[in-house]
């Protein structure tokens, strides 16, 4: 948890939950954990406000609570869960590419609401689909939801244990039965189907009232009350991790090799515990059998591809044995070490030039080297090499190790060996990326703030057009002309800017992800 991370957290919370939540979580992060009382006094909000805010944060998994030994309830906040908001666009995209539009909406709803019952989610999604005039019915959405549960992208929230003595509600821990989180409950959808028909019947009824009424009736009828579902962050992270490796292999070797690795990872998903350094070994025959037939890869070609990926310097795939036509495994620790190196090298190459990159890579390959050796091996003039090494040292990208010949550490009788500590470099880059992310986010907020009046005007205009359904073409243009051409130009410029900033955010997300994964795996044994 660093200063930059906390600042970024504050920003995310301000955007999504408002200033009360920002202050409360900030206080919780500073203190580690507190009870309810100090939250109200220190943050200066009324008890009611704090309570409601905490409820929302708990619903979204940002704040957790437990009962202290002394009897009071204490609250905790987690940085990681807040930062995972940055990955939400990628989660949604992942659901869409894997399972289609309905799943995209399901994930969207779950992210919006934090936790929902299955029937509630299906209800909301079918409503939205109906608005978009999609033909998908309740059962289709249900099937998609079940798919998401089975692939563990969605998990069940722990159930409450009825314990009358405790002052705080406690959750049942499914340690003895982890499968529990992914069992599909029996949901009676008859009520939902009927209601859908009803919606189409009385369409001009007041929308809000209807919604409230329908939600009540849904909970009554579907028989899954109390079973709430939420996003399984770990599973999405795992998917993103696999995607990172697949893209890397496709770039390094070719697209077909990437597909083979993707297939490999799909098989290993079922066989490997999610928190292990490397996948379980998978035999050549298994890979061949599960390759999609339309790829048209023969046994011989597969053999060649596997050999190429194994022999590649990037260390993504290892051969672990010869049985079953050859056993293969992916070591995530090594794969992410390589990916992390690639990102670090990209930074050095862009910022300090290709010669600096040569020096850095030389050190990464050879371990410890003296300045003189670096000059000779990299074929860089002594003066230049010195400058580059010292500037890299200044930026803390390389380290120096002193090896004295005599115990007095006299500089003239000491070897100075340059080296690299990837772990530290990765952490530093992660900080920098976090800060850059914060900067980009702040800039985006600043730009929207500056053009708020104009954006609101546009929204109003669009709202008017949307509300008047049977609008003549003439009237429509009249309303549209409320926005002057100069303003239109400005609007398109803002749109372009926000797009650019958002794209940048997503790219920064990728860098953050690789660094985090590397750090995570580097500490596993």
């Amino acid at each position: 948890m660093s200063l930059e991370q906390i600042k970024l957290c504050s920003f995310i919370l301000r955007e999504h939950f408002g200033e009360v939540a920002e202050k409360i979580v900030n206080y919780l992060l500073r203190k580690g954990s507190t009870s309810l009382k100090p939250l109200t006094t220190e943050c200066g909000f009324t008890l009611d406000k704090v309570k409601r805010c905490l409820a929302a944060l708990i619903q979204h998994g940002i704040v957790t609570f437990s009962q202290h030994k002394a009897g009071f309830v204490e609250y905790f906040a987690s940085v990681d869960n807040v930062l995972s908001y940055l990955f939400f666009p990628q989660y949604i995209n992942c659901a869409k590419t894997l399972f289609g539009d309905e799943s995209e909406l399901i994930i969207e709803e779950l992210l919006h609401q934090g936790q929902l019952t299955m029937s509630g989610t299906i209800n909301r999604v079918t409503q939205r689909l109906a608005q978009a005039e999609s033909s998908q019915d309740v059962y289709g959405v249900r099937d998609k939801f079940v798919d998401l549960i089975k692939t563990q992208f969605v998990k069940q929230c722990p159930l409450l244990t009825p314990d009358s003595k405790a002052r705080s509600p406690a959750f049942a821990e499914d340690t003895e039965n982890p499968e529990q989180a992914f069992t599909v409950p029996q949901v009676d959808l008859a009520g939902l189907v009927k209601r859908k028909r009803k919606i189409s019947d009385d369409e001009n009824e007041d929308h809000a009232r209807k919604k409230r009424k329908l939600e009540n009736s849904a909970a009554e009828k579907c028989g899954d009350e109390g079973i709430y579902w939420t996003i399984n962050h770990a599973r999405f992270q795992q998917y993103l991790r696999d995607q990172a490796i697949v893209t890397a292999v496709s770039r390094k070797v070719d697209v077909r090799a990437g597909e083979i690795i993707a297939c490999f990872l799909r098989i290993s998903e079922m066989k490997t515990a999610s928190e292990s350094i490397s996948t379980n070994a998978i035999t050549y025959n298994e890979i061949f059998q599960s390759l999609p037939k339309e790829m048209g890869i023969t046994r011989q070609i597969l053999d060649q591809y596997l050999r190429i990926i194994v022999e590649d310097a990037s260390d993504f795939l290892q051969k672990t044995g010869d049985s079953g036509g050859g056993m293969f495994a992916i070591n995530f620790q090594r794969a992410f070490k390589h990916l992390c190196q690639a990102h670090v090298q990209s930074v050095i190459g862009e910022k300090y030039g290709s010669k600096c990159l040569r020096v850095y890579r030389l050190l990464a390959m050879k371990g410890h080297l003296e300045q003189k050796q670096i000059e000779e091996m990299a074929m860089i003039p002594a003066k230049e090499a010195k400058e580059m090494l010292y500037s890299l040292f200044d930026e803390q990208l390389v380290t120096i190790k002193e090896v004295p010949k005599t115990p007095d550490h006299a500089p003239s009788r000491t070897f100075y060996l340059f080296g690299i500590q990837l772990n530290q470099v990765a952490r530093m880059l992660l900080q920098k990326t976090t800060k850059a992310m914060l900067n980009v986010c702040l800039r985006r907020a600043h730009e929207t703030q500056q053009h708020r009046r104009l954006l609101e005007k546009q929204q109003r205009m669009e709202a008017i057009i949307a509300s008047m359904e049977n609008l003549e073409e003439e009237q429509k243009t009249e309303i549209e002309e409320m926005v002057t051409p100069a303003e239109k130009a400005q609007l398109s410029k803002i749109k372009k800017m926000t797009h650019k900033l958002e794209q940048c955010e997503s790219q920064l997300c990728d860098t953050m992800f690789v660094m985090e994964m590397y750090i995570k795996y580097a500490h596993m044994k």
Binding site: V347, E350, L508
Partner: protein
């Protein structure tokens, strides 16, 4: 008396015999001989006679006297030395000897001084006079730019002195290295492209994209960009820099196909990097020089950032 006379008469003959024998011994053992060797070979001569013989040889410049540890060693003198340093005195000859011993690595003037035990001024004078006679030459060493080393004029300086093909007048030719680096990479890249276009099996494609160091060497020599002739080893060092650049990978295979009977062949292949560019570097913050000072509400802040503005307006 008569006997003594006879002895005196016999002496010149004996002397000549002794001299010749010593020279013979010296040429048999080029490393040099000690007094003990002469004594063993010709026990009939007394120490005085041996001393006189050595002195005679020394004065006629046939042998020279060297010290090895605590022993004295007699060594045959190079017949050319006399010619080359003709007109020079003994000091000059000693100087010549020392410089000659250094071979093509050369010797630094201060080392000459310590070896010759002459005062610095004398050494300077002598070296200058030898240089003017074009017997020796001065070469600047690459390892220390101010250091001059002396060697015989006829010798080609060693690589460690000149720095090999990459140095001209003890300056490292970084531009030349860069050009070669580029060209080698171009060649390897073309190989990969050709292999891709062949549309063959993945393994064949991969193998076709490899080029041996001698292939690259041939390509470079045919290009004719280098004025100096380069060896295959020189090209290999260039290719190594490409490996450090992350553009090329190396693979060593047992050399069956090599015509020159080498036991292994070094193969090189251009590779594509794993990622295009990291996200950090695609944002203006990645290259920002005042990134550390940047804070919201500070003098440098993300909302007022000029770099960000330029980037967004572009």
């Amino acid at each position: 008396m008569a006997a003594q006379e006879i002895q005196i008469k016999r002496e010149p003959m004996e002397e000549a015999e002794l001299d010749n024998r010593i020279i013979e011994l010296c040429s048999e053992i080029p490393k040099g001989i000690t007094d003990a060797v002469i004594q063993n070979d010709m026990p009939q001569f007394s120490p005085q006679e041996r001393v006189m013989a050595i002195n005679r040889l020394l004065s006629t410049n046939k042998v020279c006297l060297l010290k090895s540890g605590s022993q004295l060693i007699y060594k045959l003198k190079d017949p050319d030395v006399g010619n080359k340093t003709k007109g020079g005195d003994t000091q000059e000859q000693i100087m010549y000897q020392i410089i000659e011993d250094a071979g093509n690595k050369g010797i630094w003037i201060r080392d000459i001084r310590t070896k010759s035990n002459l005062p610095m001024t004398a050494v300077n004078k002598l070296v200058k006079s030898l240089e003017s006679k074009k017997v020796i030459k001065a070469v600047k060493s690459v390892s220390a730019s101010k250091k001059k080393v002396y060697m015989l004029a006829s010798l080609e300086p060693d690589r460690s002195v000149t720095g090999g093909a990459w140095y001209s007048d003890q300056d490292f030719e970084s531009e030349f290295v860069e050009v070669l680096n580029q060209q080698c990479f171009n060649y390897l890249e073309q190989r990969v492209k050709l292999a891709r276009e062949s549309n063959s099996e993945p393994m064949t494609q991969r193998n076709a994209s490899f080029a041996s160091s001698s292939d690259v060497w041939k390509f470079i020599t045919e290009l004719g960009i280098s004025k100096v002739s380069l060896a295959v080893e020189d090209i290999e060092t260039i290719l190594d820099t490409l490996i450090y650049d992350g553009k090329v990978e190396k693979s060593i295979v047992a050399g069956g196909g090599a015509a020159d009977g080498e036991s292994q062949v070094k193969l090189y292949r251009a590779i594509t990097p794993v990622i295009i560019n990291t996200g950090l570097m695609r944002s203006p913050c990645g290259v920002c020089p005042v990134f550390r000072e940047c804070h919201e509400a500070g003098i440098v802040s993300p909302s007022t950032c000029l770099y960000m503005k330029d980037w967004l307006d572009a």
